[in-house]
């Protein structure tokens, strides 16, 4: 019993992070119909920025002569989100915008190229070794369940709160604000959106920036919790988040969040109860299953062209 509850907690935190990254895949797919294969590497870049930000801010605080976990973490979040957002903007500008009217295949190849460039750029500039950040938030909540107990570290509590806050804010922006309406309009009918006075290129840039900022939030959270990272981590987590986006229905924002949570939960339960060696096999089997049974995903709309 306690192990099930423990894995539920672990799965929820993992899933909320998958969900954050999946948002980037699903929004970009929704607006320009391409899978941004460089998105996982944007997440990877954000891990490095997190480490640099922590070092910078800590050094600054030491210089000023005081110590505050809260200042470090908020400063790191802010800095990482801004810098990673800028990466998202540049990537769209360099790799995708020049190909706006070419075939899907060209854009796809450009995305894979961008992914390789980011990996190699980070490897060359930061070294190939695994890097790490110090643990900053220690301690845990413990709940006794029967004979055992469930432990939730404060860090996991923080991840859950921050991830759900991020998703909540984004949902509000997309559903209720003018910017959100402009994003949805561009997604539903780009040509019409431009006729109504929307600068659709700007909106597409904005969507890439939004995707990158959500990946950055995930990057900060996971880096703070897990501590270690290298230039190659973007690949596996990117594919997991992509799986989450497909599971929820690619193009659907709530779908990406739901898909992330379901994937995280089921993966954690599988790892805890059956085998942790095969958890990736399980995740991707789930993807295959979804593609066979319900290709449009849980919340996605089947592609019907209505005239």
């Amino acid at each position: 019993m306690d192990i099930v509850l423990q894995q539920l907690v672990n799965g929820l935190t993992l899933g909320s992070v998958y969900g954050l990254i999946a948002i980037g895949y699903t929004m970009v797919y929704g607006i320009i119909g391409m899978i941004n294969f460089a998105h996982g590497d944007v997440y990877m870049v954000s891990s490095y920025i997190t480490a640099i930000a922590i070092a910078l801010i800590s050094a600054l605080l030491t210089f000023l002569g005081f110590e505050s976990f809260l200042v470090v973490i908020i400063g790191t979040l802010f800095l990482t989100i801004v810098v990673t957002g800028a990466y998202g903007w540049v990537i769209e500008r360099v790799a995708y915008r020049p190909l706006r009217n070419s075939s899907r295949l060209a854009v796809l190849i450009s995305a894979i190229g961008m992914s390789l460039i980011l990996q190699n750029y980070v490897q060359l500039s930061q070294g190939a070794n695994q890097q790490g950040v110090p643990t900053m938030l220690t301690g845990a909540l413990r709940f006794h369940v029967g004979d055992g107990f469930v432990q939730i570290t404060y860090m996991k509590v923080f991840i859950l709160i921050a991830a759900f806050a991020g998703m909540g804010i984004l949902t509000y922006v997309i559903q209720k604000t003018k910017l959100g309406r402009m994003c949805r309009a561009t997604q539903q009918d780009r040509k019409m959106a431009s006729i109504l006075g929307i600068d659709t290129d700007k909106i597409i840039s904005t969507v890439f920036v939004i995707g990158a900022t959500m990946a950055a939030l995930a990057g900060v959270l996971i880096t703070l919790d897990y501590g270690a990272f290298d230039f190659y981590i973007g690949f596996i987590i990117g594919i997991k988040a992509f799986t989450a986006a497909v599971l929820g229905g690619i193009g659907s924002l709530p779908g990406a969040m739901l898909g992330g949570l379901i994937l995280g939960l089921s993966e954690a339960l599988f790892a805890g109860l059956i085998s942790s060696d095969y958890k990736d096999v399980f995740s991707f089997s789930l993807l295959v299953l979804i593609l066979i049974i319900r290709p449009s995903g849980l919340l996605g709309k089947p592609e019907v062209e209505k005239v």
Partner: protein
């Protein structure tokens, strides 16, 4: 009367195919001008070329003294041109209200609430369906929404592409009645139609397009009694 928009010798090509051939026409302020022609004559191409989709290959599109033929679509829209396009192109997953708000992009939200009330008075059906997803509405309602959305930007020139397409005769009648009301407020309207009868009755002036060329022009009343027009577009009686 001052000229609001003028097409000067406009050519449009789709690859090797020429869709518009040396098209020239003018729209004066306060006028209702109609362009009639058969399916595939190039009417929608002409309207969309105002927004650079497609770009014209030669000629000029002068709007308020400026050649806008090479400008971006959002620039054109931001300067007082609004279109209810062919096929209506409402945003299917948005509510009626959100669709209307999309019309306010060029002018901001300042008048949004007041203008929306005005639209609901003009199109009471939209008020009933205010929070409904636009895709669930009937064709006529969607057409009303497309026109209302265009009006929300308080345009100087309202462009309408076949507002009667695919609608029942009684709905067509309603829509043209509404257009008449809109025109009576002094709005300049450029109406592209296959339904020549309704369009010519409403319009001050008309142009007839055949295979990408302007073949005839005259006042609405003149064209309505013109034997050639009657033969080709009004069923010969």
């Amino acid at each position: 009367m001052t000229t609001l928009m003028q097409f000067k010798d406009v050519d449009v090509h789709y690859g090797p195919i020429q869709a518009l051939k040396k098209v020239s026409l003018t729209i004066d302020e306060g006028e209702i001008v109609t362009l009639i022609g058969a399916n595939g004559a190039g009417k929608s191409t002409l309207l969309m070329s105002i927004f650079g989709q497609p770009r014209i290959s030669s000629g000029e599109i002068i709007y308020r003294g400026e050649d806008i033929s090479q400008k971006s679509a959002h620039y054109v829209a931001s300067n007082g041109l609004a279109q209810s396009p062919e096929g209506r192109r409402i945003f299917p997953s948005m509510s009626v209200e959100e669709n209307l708000l999309m019309g306010t992009i060029p002018i901001g939200m300042e008048h949004a609430e007041k203008d929306m009330q005005r639209m609901f008075e003009m199109f009471p059906r939209l008020l009933e369906r205010r929070n409904q997803r636009a895709s669930t509405m009937s064709g006529g309602e969607q057409q009303m929404l497309a026109i209302a959305r265009a009006l929300m930007s308080r345009p100087k020139l309202l462009l309408l592409d076949e507002p009667s397409l695919g609608l029942a005769p009684i709905i067509v009648k309603q829509i043209f009645q509404i257009l008449k009301d809109v025109a009576s407020t002094g709005m300049t309207i450029f109406l592209v139609e296959q339904n020549a009868n309704h369009a010519l009755k409403l319009a001050n002036r008309g142009y007839v397009m055949v295979n990408g060329e302007i073949k005839m022009t005259g006042t609405g009343a003149e064209l309505l009694v013109n034997p050639e027009v009657r033969e080709a577009y009004l069923g010969g009686h």
